[in-house]
Amino acid sequence: MDNTLLSIRNLHTSFFTHVGEVKAVQNVSYDVRRGEILGVVGESGSGKSVSYMSCMRLLQEPGRIMGGDVQFKGESLLSKTNRQMRNIRGNRMSMIFQNPMTSLNAVLKIGDQITEPLREHKNMSRAEAKREAISLLERVQIPDAEKRLSAYPHEFSGGMRQRVLIAMAIACRPDLIIADEPTTALDVTIQSQILELMKDLQQDLGTSIVFITHDLGVIAETCSRVVVMYGSMVMEEAPVDDIFHRPAHPYTEGLLRSIPKPGMEDKRLSPIPGSPPVQLSPPPGCPFAPRCNYAMNICRRRLPEFTKIGENHRSACWLLSGHAPSNNFRRENI
């Protein structure tokens, strides 16, 4: 049986702003497999969120999907009607957003917000949905679940709210949960609690999870495979061990170098020099070329194609391609 759950193929998404077309996602292709935790990592603005907003068809003006396809359980999401799409959102595919403080509606009771997807998609009665909501809250370890149903979001701490959002996301037992930086807005101790919780739930429910993050630490803790994005494109895709021990792309290498070492006083990242590209009028060639230590002439002229490095490992860099003039330096590293 095919174990591909979500398959993104040549996805292009642009925002038509008053200064021009911003190409937020360009030619992105990869799969999310059943039951896996996939990490999607990359700097701010690399197109991580926009690719999943495209998959969920939740892009807001002036965003538009310009090409490609997204298949979910073998069916194209881009050709579904709005009504069909609504039946998938929150039901088969759900999202957890970055900011738990703003993702809950402040004027509606928690219980009301958790039961919503159940009533919408599972046709539960008010009482059934309430019972289910209590067990969901218990599942995400919120004490006093029954009483908390009638509380409002402002009566919860950030970590508790994120638990509520997780409860909401798993309510309908979806096939896929997209967690867009679910821990970035939280304290470090709370962060690891939330990650533990999500890993446990994933084990129990067998759901696939996509972890969007710019934190390689989160990736190391949770994911089995990783997709690295830069400048609205995929740079590298590999099992998590390969990413950490055998990175094939200079950008991935840079990301790894920017992880704070344990015991280091200053926890700030030592970022890759230079700033991320503006996708307004991207120059031809590799998007990373302006910041890449290994950049060659061809890098600035032509987009590198993917080179298969291992069974599940591929990377888009001229250094790996047989066409590149001299790549001995990099070959040794692989």
Binding site: R86, R89, N91, N105, A106, V107, L108, E116, P117
Partner: protein, 308 residues
């Protein structure tokens, strides 16, 4: 909740007391008595009048009497309409003003909010452009100009609606339109911008990501949030309607409170001026109180109990 209501009630009483005192002092510091205009009045007659209305008492005694009267809901006699009390003037005038004002508020909410919703939903399309044009027009035209315009078109030229009085329901149409024109525009604009702001919020994207219907997203998640700023302006808006109605009642010759007030001023009918001021102040305070309660109901983040 109860504590909050009690606290608000006490502060309302204090505010009322301050208003009463200031109004009283102002009225008595204006030179010229109520009978000054009637020059021909012989001194002994004037003395008799002053005595009759206790105007020769020391100021503090007049003040104590006046406050005592208010506590018994007695605003005293009118100096000019002999034999009429201020209470009677209010009882005859307020229903008219209240109907015009109440209808206006209804019209403002029932037209202004839906117009704002349509404009927000159809942002940058022709529906939005029409609403925005009308709203800008409505905000720039003062109510008395609108009233005159309406009178000219619908009474004088088309002869469809009466130009004064409220003998039939038709008489209410023009005053209500003139009175609510500005506020409809204001509320429509506010609803539009407030909704557009709400649409951008994370919880709206979340609601969409949960697969809810557009209807639920708009009315359950969106509108309740978008209404919060509208409720906060309702207090001042009602105040505006009240004062605006003075002019409108005059233009359409409605036998409401506004007419009595304006006459009271030109007649130096002090008890009438004071009485109506005190009455309106009390009315307004109660309205603002109600608005606050609605506000607390809409927004659970406002803790009614421990707000000072």
């Amino acid at each position: 909740m109860f504590k909050y209501i009690l606290k608000r009630f006490v502060s309302m009483i204090i505010t009322m007391f301050v208003i009463i005192t200031i109004t009283f002092l102002l009225m008595h510091s204006v030179p010229g008595g109520p009978f000054a205009a009637e020059k021909a009045l012989p001194p002994e007659v004037e003395q008799a009048l002053l005595e009759k209305y206790h105007l020769d008492d020391p100021l503090w005694k007049q003040y104590v009497d006046y406050v005592g009267g208010i506590l018994r809901f007695d605003l005293g006699p009118s100096f000019k309409y002999r034999g009429l009390t201020v209470n009677e003037l209010i009882v005859s005038g307020f229903p008219v003003s209240g109907r015009v004002g109440g209808l206006s508020i209804l019209v403002i909410l029932l037209i202004g909010i839906p117009l704002g919703i349509i404009a927000a939903l159809k942002q940058n399309r022709w529906e939005d452009a029409v609403v925005r044009f009308l709203a800008t027009l409505g905000i720039t035209i003062p109510s008395f100009v609108l009233a005159t315009l309406l009178l000219y078109v619908f009474s004088l030229k088309l002869d469809l609606l009466p130009s004064f009085g409220i003998e039939s329901w038709k008489g209410y149409i023009l005053p209500v339109v003139a009175l609510s024109g500005y506020s409809i525009s204001f509320v429509a604009r506010l609803t539009r911008s407030s909704l557009l702001e709400v649409f951008r919020q994370d919880y709206m994207i979340m609601a969409r990501a949960k697969g809810l219907s557009e209807f639920k997203i708009l009315f359950k998640h969106g509108l309740k949030n978008a209404l919060i700023p509208i409720v906060t302006v309702m207090g001042p808006l009602i105040a505006g309607l009240l004062t605006g109605s003075f002019v409108i009642e005059k233009i359409f010759a409605l036998p409401g409170m506004g007419g009595h007030f304006v006459n009271g001023i030109s007649n130096r009918d002090y008890t009438v001026i004071m009485g109506i001021t005190v009455f309106y102040a009390g009315f307004l305070l109660i309205m603002v109180f109600i608005v606050d309660l609605i506000y607390g109901f809409l927004d659970p983040r406002i803790k009614l109990d421990n707000r000072s």
